[in-house]
Symmetry: C2
Subunit: 255 residues, 2 copies
């Protein structure tokens, strides 16, 4: 029986994405790999899951140390289903990515890559999302690989604090080092382009611009802008603990 750690991998760009293949090959040096990835591009699906219809699974690949499936669900579905039905033992770590495009700052909210990671962490698994700030299909992941190896081996050796997962983003090109940092405050300035179809009916296309005015030097955006990989420890509790006392006062309650 194998004593190698089991490494579960998913993503949101779909099983055919280059970033997923790079992550698979990298992880295969550290353990037995199970891949369960969406059967299509599932970007922007955040933490969504599927309950209104059942899921289908396809066999993609099977070789020494690597088994890969695709599934018609969301990245969160992939994690849930793989852990229960497609992993022969408990994963030592759940990886997601390498995403084609940034998941830094507020992008983590929308990200299917990070949805899968945070989902895995709520079950108590070590989980890490990797993203490169390059949307290109043929993006060059070569500079990311040594950092992925470092972070993966460190996590396999030490684990992560309970309930904490990692959101790792890489800048394009050479990387100056690694920084442990927090999310930058930012938002998307959205606009919708109004168009009219050949039948005279309106439709709206989303476009947007990322706005970050956060000049704190310890953010992920700053790290990436200075050519560093950003490592943000991430947890799933949305509570604003700072706001609790003020709201208790406003509502006149002591708990």
């Amino acid at each position: 029986m194998s004593e190698r750690p089991l490494i579960l991998i998913t993503n949101d760009d779909g099983y055919a994405a280059k970033g997923l293949r790079v992550l698979m090959e990298c992880a295969a040096d550290y353990g037995d790999v199970v891949v369960m990835a969406p059967d299509r591009n599932a970007s922007g699906l955040s933490h969504s899951f599927t309950s209104g219809r059942p899921l289908r699974v396809n066999d993609i690949e099977r070789r020494e140390g690597v088994v890969a499936y695709s599934c018609d669900g969301t990245p969160v579905d992939c994690v849930k289903l793989a852990i229960e039905h497609f992993c022969s033992r408990k994963p030592a770590v759940v990886l997601s990515g390498i995403n084609h495009g940034s998941n830094s700052s507020v992008n983590v909210l929308y990200s299917g890559t990070m949805g899968a990671v945070i989902e895995a962490s709520t079950y108590g698994f070590n989980a890490i999302g990797f993203s490169l700030t390059d949307h290109a299909k043929d993006a060059n992941f070569d500079y990311c690989v040594p950092y992925i190896r470092q972070i993966l081996s460190t996590t396999l050796a030490n684990g992560l604090p309970e309930g904490v997962s990692l959101n790792v983003n890489f800048p394009i090109g050479q990387i100056n080092g690694l920084r442990v940092c927090h999310e930058a405050k930012a938002h998307w300035a959205d606009s919708f382009e109004h168009r009219v179809d050949p039948y005279g009916r309106s439709y709206w296309w989303l476009t947007g611009r990322f706005i970050c005015d956060d000049d704190n030097p310890d953010t992920d955006e700053r790290a990436l802008a200075e050519g560093y990989a950003s490592v943000v420890p991430t947890q799933p509790d949305y509570t604003s603990y700072e706001a609790l006392p003020l709201l208790k006062k406003i509502y006149g309650v002591d708990r």
Copy 2:
């Protein structure tokens, strides 16, 4: 020109849901109401948005002080699109719900209702999600209404702290009061029922059980279990600030 505040309303159960109608009627006493809600049940869509296809909008209702539309996007899409193209002025508050079913604790991660609320808060709007812990289509929202009035009028008068939105959940039946609290730690114990279709092919249906072992007395789950409405101040930063020093030490970096 009207001086009444503009109140934007969405949900994830779809524009025909009873909970949305109750919230519309309630809000219409406080301002001019614009509704932009999904044209179908869009539960479990979390913070997902639509970029791969354009959005369509339908006129649903137009009467003194109330304009309602439906849209084929997600709850987050509804907020983005309504703010840019369907609100005549800046909303004083964005409301979501009343959801049929709980969005307490870790459920906030998956919730389209709260996805819309958190989205609105990243743009700097006051935003509140309301949910009743009853999935029934004909759920009784009567006991919620006085609390919605209190929270809505308080928010219109005072605003909310910057970047903070409210996640309000109601227990079924009579309500003992209101508590300001934090999310309970919990997770879903998922399982998938494996079935075989008439053509001999496998499919998997998600089922799940909510597991909360958190015995902290100041959680939303405790408040609901004791018959109180839970008000959780919510913010969109996933960073685990507690884990930063340990991770800096592990990776040997000072930032």
